[in-house]
C-alpha cells in the first residue's frame, strides 16, 4: 500500500490548515525541503505536495521551492495547487515532477484540461475531487462548483482521467478519519483512488486497505505525532511474511530437450531437462518450471513421460505448463507428479477454467501465466506464446485471475523477454498492487543485480530466469550469496 505523506506550502513554509480554512493555519516547519527529507528517511516512496498559496491565488506560487525538493530528494512527487493552464502543467511535468493534480481547471478550462491529459498521459494527470457538503468544491475549497459529484465524475471519465484524489473537505485536518463511503464510491467508479483528508491513524489506513484501496495521503496526523515509518511498516506488513524469496530456473522443453528462445523464437538447445533440473535443485534452486513450448501443436506424450521422470528424480516443487487446456490435461500432469500447473492461453480464452481447476485441485497448484506488453499507459494481454494480442487489460486480468482462484501469477513482460535489461518493475508493481496472491517475476533478468532490484523494489515472491542460468552467466549459489548480502531472505 502506498502511503503519500503530504506537505502543504504557504509563503514558502510548511503549514497545515483545518478544513481548508486559510484563517486556521499552523506552521510546522520553515523549510519544506527538510520535511521532505524527513519523510524520505522514514521510508516514503512518493510525496504529495500542495501549493496552498497557489490554490488560493489560482496560480503556482511556490514552484521553485517544489522543483527544488524534487531535484534534491530523488523521490516521485505529485503536486497540486494553482495549476490552471497548460503552461503551469508543463512547467512542473517537464522539470522533475512525476504527476500533477488539477481540479478547478477541469470546469474552468475544459479544453486546456483535456489537452494536458492528451499530451502528458493519464498516468501523470491526477484529478482532485474535493467534496464539500456533497458538492464538488473548487478554488482551494473556497467555492462550490455548480456541478454535482455525479456530473463531475462523468465529465472527468470522458476526459480520460484514471487517477483521482478524493477528499471530503469537512474531514480534512480534523484527525477524525476519512470519509470511507466516498472513497468506496470513487473506487467503484473504476478510478485508481487516492484517499485524502482526515486519515489519522493506522486503523484508518488498515480499514482503507481492507476495502481494497491502495493509496492514502496522510497530512496533519504525521505532524501531530503519527509515525510515518510505523504507518508504512504496518500498512505493508501484511504482505510481508517470513517466506524466502524463491529463485526459479525455467526450462523450456521441446521434444524432450531444454531450449530457450529469445522472444520465443531462435530456439537454442541447452540439455536434458531431468539432468539440468537435478543440477539446479542441487545448487539451491527453490523451485523449477518446465514449459512444453510446442505443446499446442505436437504430441504431448513425450512431455508427460518427462514429467514422470522429473517427479522421480527431483525433490523440490516443480510447475509444468504449455498447452494445458482442460481439467483432464491438469489431472494427468498432477497425477504423474507435477506439483503445479501453469495455465496460459486457456485461462484467457476461458477464465472459468481457472475457477473450476482451483475448486477441483486447490488454489496452491494453479499458476496463471500473465503475458503482458505495454500499450500506452497500460498493459495488454497476449496469448499463444506472445504472438497474439487480445485487447484485454493485464491488470484487470490479473485481478480477475486472483478472484477466480489462481494460486500464483507468473508474470511475463513481453517488452523485456530475452532482453536481459532487468525485470519490468513497473508492470510487476502494478500487478502486485492489484492482487493478494504470490507473484513470480519473469522476463528480463540479465544479472544477479536484476534479482536484487526486483526483490527490493517490488513485492514479488519469486524471480524466474532461463538462459542466464543455462549458459552459466549466473550460478544459483552465487545469486543466493548476492541476495543474502543485500539482506534479501533466501534459503
Amino acid at each position: 500500500m502506498l502511503i503519500l505523506p503530504a506537505i502543504d506550502i504557504f509563503g514558502g513554509k510548511c503549514v497545515r490548515l483545518k478544513q481548508g480554512d486559510f484563517n486556521q493555519s499552523k506552521t510546522y516547519n520553515e523549510d519544506p525541503l527538510i520535511v521532505a527529507q524527513e519523510f524520505k528517511k522514514k521510508g516514503a516512496e512518493f510525496i504529495h505536495i500542495v501549493d496552498l498559496e497557489g490554490a488560493k491565488e489560482k496560480r503556482p506560487m511556490n514552484k521553485e521551492i517544489i522543483l527544488n525538493i524534487a531535484k534534491t530528494i530523488n523521490l516521485p512527487i505529485q503536486v497540486g495547487g494553482g495549476i490552471r493552464s497548460y503552461e503551469d502543467a508543463k512547467a512542473y511535468l517537464d522539470n522533475g515532477i512525476t504527476r500533477i493534480i488539477v481540479s478547478s481547471m477541469a470546469t474552468r478550462s475544459p479544453n486546456e484540461f483535456k489537452r494536458i491529459i492528451k499530451e502528458f498521459g493519464s498516468s501523470r494527470i491526477v484529478f482532485s475531487l474535493d467534496i464539500r457538503d456533497g458538492k464538488f468544491a473548487i478554488s482551494g475549497w473556497t467555492e462550490s462548483s455548480e456541478k454535482s459529484v455525479t456530473e463531475i465524475i462523468e465529465f472527468i471519465k470522458n476526459a480520460g482521467i484514471k487517477i483521482v484524489v478524493v477528499t471530503d473537505t469537512a474531514k480534512d485536518g480534523m484527525l477524525a478519519g476519512p470519509n470511507f463511503e466516498i472513497a468506496q464510491k470513487i473506487m467503484d467508479e473504476g478510478f485508481e483512488t487516492i484517499v485524502a483528508g482526515g486519515v489519522s491513524s493506522i486503523k484508518d489506513v488498515l480499514r482503507l486497505k481492507k476495502m481494497g484501496l491502495r493509496n492514502v495521503i496522510i497530512g496533519k496526523a504525521l505532524y501531530e505525532g503519527l509515525d510515518l515509518k510505523e504507518v508504512i511498516y504496518k500498512a505493508n506488513d501484511m504482505n510481508k511474511n517470513n517466506l524466502v524469496k524463491r529463485i526459479i530456473p525455467c526450462l523450456d522443453v521441446k521434444d524432450g530437450r531444454v531450449v530457450k528462445g529469445i522472444y520465443f523464437k531462435n530456439l537454442k538447445d541447452a540439455g536434458d531437462p531431468v539432468e539440468l533440473g537435478k543440477f539446479y535443485s542441487d545448487s539451491g534452486a527453490d523451485e523449477l518450471i518446465f514449459l512444453d513450448i510446442t505443446a499446442t501443436k505436437e504430441d504431448r506424450k513425450t512431455f508427460q513421460d518427462l514429467v514422470g521422470r522429473i517427479a522421480k528424480e527431483i525433490n523440490i516443487p516443480f510447475t509444468v505448463g504449455g498447452g494445458i487446456k482442460s481439467i483432464t490435461d491438469m489431472k494427468e500432469l498432477l497425477a504423474i507428479g507435477a506439483d503445479k500447473v501453469s495455465i496460459g492461453s486457456a485461462a484467457v480464452k476461458n477464465p472459468n477454467l481457472v475457477k473450476e481447476a482451483s475448486q477441483y485441485f486447490g488454489a496452491q497448484c494453479i499458476v496463471v501465466s500473465v503475458d503482458a506488453k505495454k500499450k500506452n499507459d497500460s498493459w495488454e494481454i497476449y496469448i499463444k506464446g506472445g504472438s497474439e494480442a487480445t485487447g484485454i487489460d493485464a491488470i484487470s486480468f490479473a485481478k480477475e485471475m486472483g478472484e477466480l482462484g489462481a494460486g500464483e501469477l507468473l508474470v511475463n513482460s513481453l517488452d523485456r523477454d530475452g532482453t536481459k535489461a532487468g525485470f519490468d518493475l513497473e508492470l510487476l508493481n502494478a500487478i502486485c498492487n492489484a492482487v493478494n496472491i504470490p507473484v513470480i517475476a519473469s522476463s528480463g533478468a540479465g544479472s544477479a543485480e536484476d534479482f536484487v532490484e526486483v526483490f527490493q523494489k517490488t513485492n514479488v515472491d519469486a524471480g524466474l530466469a532461463a538462459s542466464i542460468f543455462h549458459n552459466g552467466t549466473v550460478a544459483i549459489s552465487d545469486l543466493k550469496k548476492v541476495l543474502k548480502e543485500n539482506n534479501i531472505p533466501v534459503r
Binding site: 488498515l206 486497505k209 481492507k210 506488513d237 501484511m238 504482505n239 510481508k240 511474511n241 517470513n242 517466506l243 524466502v244 524463491r246 535443485s281 527453490d286 514422470g308 517427479a311 522421480k312 525433490n315 523440490i316 516443487p317 498432477l334 497425477a335 504423474i336 507428479g337 506439483d339 475448486q359 477441483y360 485441485f361 486447490g362 488454489a363 496452491q364 497448484c365 494460486g407 500464483e408 493478494n436 496472491i437 504470490p438 515472491d461 519469486a462 534459503r491
Partner: protein
C-alpha cells in the same frame, strides 16, 4: 515392512511414493481399509479441498478406520488439516483425531502461502531428529490447524504463528511438503519411515 500411502483422490501420491522409495523403503498406494490397517506405517497426504476430501474418504469407508491406526501415522498438508474436529473450508466436519479446528489465513495475508518457510521446534519429536531447528520447508496452504499446545512440535510464522508440526501419540502431522523440501524434507521423511 510396508508403508501404506492413502489414495483418496486428493493429493500427489506419486511424489510421496517416489520420495519414500528413494529413501529405500517400500510402500503401496492404496484406498483399501484392510490394507491400510495392516500396514506398518501410514502416510496420509492431501491437496485440494476439505469438503471433497472428506466426501471421498467416506465413500471409500476410510474415514472410520483412521482413528484406529496403532502404527506410525503421518498426515501431510490437507492430510494434517483433516485430523482436526472441523475445517472452515467448506464448513467441513473432519476426522477428530487431534481435535481443534482448521482456520483460513486472515484476508490481509497473501493466500495461499506458497514457498519456503522456517519451522521452529517447540519440543522434541522423533520425526525432527537430526534436523536443524529453524530449517526451511516448502509450504503450499491457505488453511492451518489450531490444536492444543501439548501437541505442537513445531511452529511457523507467516504473519501469524501457526502449528506446522504436531504429534499426538502415534499420529504425526506436518503442514509442509517433506517430499518437496529438498534434503531436510528427505531427512524428516526418513525419520518417519524408520519408525514404521
Amino acid at each position: 515392512m510396508k508403508i501404506a500411502i492413502i489414495d483418496y483422490k486428493a493429493g500427489n501420491t506419486a511424489s510421496i511414493k517416489n520420495a519414500v522409495e528413494n529413501l529405500g523403503f517400500s510402500c503401496i498406494i492404496t484406498n483399501n481399509p484392510e490394507e491400510i490397517l495392516k500396514a506398518d506405517g501410514v502416510i496420509f497426504p492431501g491437496q485440494g479441498r476439505a469438503g471433497q476430501a472428506m466426501k471421498n474418504l467416506k465413500e471409500m469407508g476410510i474415514d472410520k478406520i483412521l482413528s484406529r491406526i496403532t502404527k506410525p501415522f503421518l498426515g501431510i498438508c490437507l492430510g494434517m488439516q483433516l485430523l482436526a474436529d472441523s475445517s472452515e473450508e467448506d464448513n467441513t466436519k473432519c476426522l477428530s483425531i487431534v481435535g481443534g479446528k482448521c482456520i483460513k489465513f486472515p484476508a490481509e495475508l497473501k493466500t495461499p502461502q506458497i514457498g519456503w518457510n522456517k519451522v521452529n521446534f517447540i519440543q522434541p519429536s522423533p520425526i525432527t531428529e537430526e534436523i536443524k531447528n529453524g530449517s526451511y520447508f516448502y509450504f503450499a496452504n491457505s488453511y492451518y490447524i489450531e490444536v492444543e499446545n501439548k501437541y505442537i512440535v513445531g511452529k511457523t510464522d507467516y504473519g501469524i504463528n501457526f502449528s506446522s508440526i504436531i504429534q499426538k501419540d502415534n499420529y504425526f502431522a506436518i503442514q509442509f511438503h517433506p517430499e518437496k523440501s529438498g534434503t531436510v524434507g528427505s531427512q524428516l521423511l526418513n525419520n518417519f519411515c524408520k519408525l514404521c
